[in-house]
Amino acid sequence: MNTNPISNTIITQTAAQLIAAVAEARDKRVPMIDYGIAHAGLGYAPPLVYTSLRQQADPSNGGILEHYTRDLTVRAAAGITISALQAALKPTNQFVPVDADDDITLGEAIDHNTWGPLRAGYGSLRDLLLGLHYIDGEARDIHVGGRTVKNVAGYDVTRFMVGSLGELGMVHEATLRTYAIPEHVLSVELSMIDPSVLDERGTDLLLSDAKPTHLSYCYRCGRAGASEGTWSAQIAYFGKHSGCLVQLRSLVTFLDSLPGVHVVGNSDVTLESDTAERMVRRAWRRTASAVVKIIVPPAATGQICKALADWSCVHQQLHIDALPLHGCIFTGGPLDGAAALSLDRLITDAVAAAGGLRIWYARPAQSDTAIDPFGSPQPDHAMLLKLKQTMDPHNVFNPGRFLR
């Protein structure tokens, strides 16, 4: 956990306020820190003295700068919350398909490349973003990308900022694609004995008519000391009612060839309730002392999940949430330091064998110096560091959070 003393807290609502804050930070050599509210434990600790920054939506516009309803694009302030953004789009039957908690800001979602099951049907933020305005390390207002759905003028700094952990600049405005709220959402619950059965068949699923809008599975421990927990999967289809039924029938046929996987139930839900359900499933990540994100080749997802479940039965209870089509696993729980270290050893070995990476989003206090949050550097780490030095020469933004 990052618990260093803060020298100051600034809340900004406009670009002008943000420019002034950054200029002051640059001139006084006091860095600005914004790790977000859902990602506060991600990264190395901030410096001893810093200014904490939060962006909020300007009350005069609620954070919606312009909604191009017929173009299905929206220009929004980075300080708008996800829930406010979705609420503003809803009257025109539109939404932004991003798996991000309601209370985080659009800026936080961009900084952390927040994505989830909906990536299967809609892509992630790097695919939804069309343009950004951000304040750079010299307190200048930089405008990249634009409003159109295709644009190759200038370097694609828009995409580069996604997932940059707020180290390259302060995003204050973003233009994104929106999509029509689906007429119908069909949610299907599956039971699974062995998650690795899907490892070999992910491509087949995508090639079939059962291709999901989103797919995830999760593991929930049994009672303490139980030898094993239970696996369940959630699939959803968005579209017209008739289309969702066609896809459900195709799914049932597909599952005939997957041993140990069965439809438990299906229900017609709204986008809102489907979104809420996905938020409930990931809610543990906001409070658990240990949260790790693992990225591996999709076909290795199930095997690694099984290894995590085996560990969970022996050591401490784990949540395991997997997005098998993308090879993404979130795991963790109320672990103590020793358990976190043990878990990290398991994950590090598994990732080394499969080829991948792991990121600790939260580490128990007893282990935060022993567990490196990011593991072995990626091959492009040195170039990312050079670009950080170029874009933020005075090291104003989240210094040392990742690139150091």
Partner: protein, 487 residues
């Protein structure tokens, strides 16, 4: 054209690295490389080098550095903005012979390819698995994937399936000092920190030479419905496009040809298009077979409500292939009626398409330049085609001024100067109308982070603070046509 001692020595070193057969230095042989798909400005390089491996690229780059020669990366040369041309001096380093598909991973849905693999060659290699490499520019038979990545190429199905940046997971790139960087980790869908593969995409060879790519493989759609509708005005067709988007339908493709282009294509290929139509909208949806008819019915209703005169459905694969062939061959048909042409590539908000097309016509009349349109209507990515004779300097100048007015207009309504072709040299002078000075400065600083000596394709894509490339009418029987000056 004779080489200096320095240049001759460099050429000898290149031959030692890649072999005699992979170096061209005679003027006659290099004429093929004096331009890409943008013929207005031409330039001859010192030599053309064809490495076949990353190591050879590294070695050639180091030689170029040693002899202080700039480098211009090039794939197949199908680019349309003058990026892949050596104006002034420089080595044209062409990756088209780096054409090996190194790995295909069906379970994890990616392929590893050398930069010179042709776009369609990758899809051909995986199609039997039901997968494909999605970006489909009209040049896909010839264009390399490295070149697609360098320009963030689009194509006809980008409306639903995205552009090249959505389909490349990672790259290997050789920098100007000969060092090699690899982004993220292989074919993983995500990484830590800023999205470097995203930043490198579309940089038009100004950061480094792309040598390898991890390409996402996606399901190849099996079922389609295709139709074309004929309208009495381009505005009606554009409104149909806008209405389809506004109601939330995402077709695979929505392409449009104006009346002039319909006649040009019909004269050339005899597809059966009505030659008295003012515009033709070619539209396709893909997905689950049982659902497509209903989706198409909604779209047809929208077209009818906007005055579609004649709607023809495509019942079979053969006719579908013919229709898309007509679209993809449209540019080729221009050659029958005009000595030269220049294609613009602005992208505008889709809701503005009706007024944009009206303005194109007005600008064409103002300059007395014949203009025709074929474009990706669903993306708002217009391609006004300006017809002229490049041997007539006055026509060239009028065409350039007309292009500028078109692009300035598109910027004024929230559009961009280039949706998929790239800035190259063609649109460089408009970059300061697109971006404020701080942003241009940021671009220049980022460029120098990768290429501190500014040896790689300097003066392309973004304004250089070191040299300026000005477009001139190419002179007959004389190499070069673009003036390069030190800033």
């Amino acid at each position: 054209m004779s080489l200096s001692v320095n240049e001759s020595s460099a050429v000898d070193r290149f031959r030692a690295i890649v072999g005699d057969a992979n170096v061209i230095s005679s003027r006659d042989q290099m004429l093929v490389y004096e331009c890409d798909g943008f013929p207005i400005a031409k330039g001859l390089p010192t030599c053309v080098v064809f490495p076949t491996s990353t190591q050879q690229v590294v070695d050639c780059v180091k030689v170029a550095a040693q002899f202080d020669l700039p480098i211009v990366p090039r794939g197949s040369g199908t680019g349309l903005a003058g990026s892949a041309v050596a104006y002034g001096e420089g080595v044209l380093l062409t990756t088209s012979r780096m054409n090996q598909i190194e790995e295909i991973d069906v379970k994890n849905r990616f392929a590893v390819v050398q930069a010179g693999v042709r776009n369609l060659a990758l899809t051909d290699a995986v199609i039997h698995t039901g997968l494909r490499f999605s970006p489909d520019p009209s040049s896909q038979r010839a264009a390399t994937i490295g070149g697609n990545y360098a320009t963030n190429a689009g194509g006809i199905n980008t409306l639903k399936h995205g552009v090249t940046a959505n389909h490349v997971l990672g790259v290997e790139m050789v920098l100007a000092d000969g060092s090699v960087i690899t982004t993220r980790i292989g074919g993983l869908c995500d990484g830590v920190g800023g999205d470097l593969p995203g930043l490198l995409c579309g940089a038009e060879g100004t950061f480094g030479i792309i040598t390898k790519l991890w390409c996402k493989l996606v399901p190849n759609p099996r079922f389609f419905r295709t139709f074309y509708a004929v309208f009495n005005s381009t505005q009606d067709a554009c409104k149909s496009v806008s209405d389809v988007i506004a109601c939330g339908i995402v077709p695979t493709s929505m392409e449009m040809m104006d009346g002039e282009m319909i006649r040009i294509v019909e004269d050339a290929f005899h597809f059966g298009f009505p030659t008295d139509a003012q515009s033709l909208l070619l539209l396709e949806v893909d997905g689950i077979d049982q659902l497509l008819d209903e989706q198409m019915a909604s779209i047809v209703e929208i077209a009818r409500s906007n005055g579609a005169q004649d709607i023809k459905m495509c019942g079979d694969a053969k006719r579908r292939a013919e229709l898309w062939s007509a679209r993809k061959k449209a540019f080729g048909a221009i050659g029958r009626i005009s000595h030269s042409y220049c294609t613009q590539d602005a992208c505008v908000p889709r809701s503005m398409l009706p007024v944009v097309m009206e303005e194109m016509g007005r600008i064409g009349r103002k300059y007395g330049v014949r203009i025709t349109n074929v474009f990706h209507a669903g993306d708002g990515n217009i391609h006004p085609i300006l017809l002229f004779d490049e041997d007539k300097p006055e026509e060239v100048q009028r065409t350039l001024r007309m292009s500028e007015e078109i692009l300035e207009y598109c910027i004024s309504i929230g559009g961009t100067i280039t949706g998929e072709h790239g800035v190259g040299v063609e649109k460089l002078h408009l970059m300061d109308k697109m971006f404020n000075s701080a942003t241009i400065d940021t671009f220049q600083k980022i460029k120098k982070t990768f290429d501190p000596q500014q040896r790689l394709n300097d003066g392309k894509h973004i304004p250089s603070d070191r040299l300026k490339i000005e477009l001139l009418t190419p002179l007959k029987n004389q190499a070069g046509g673009a003036l390069v000056t030190q800033v």
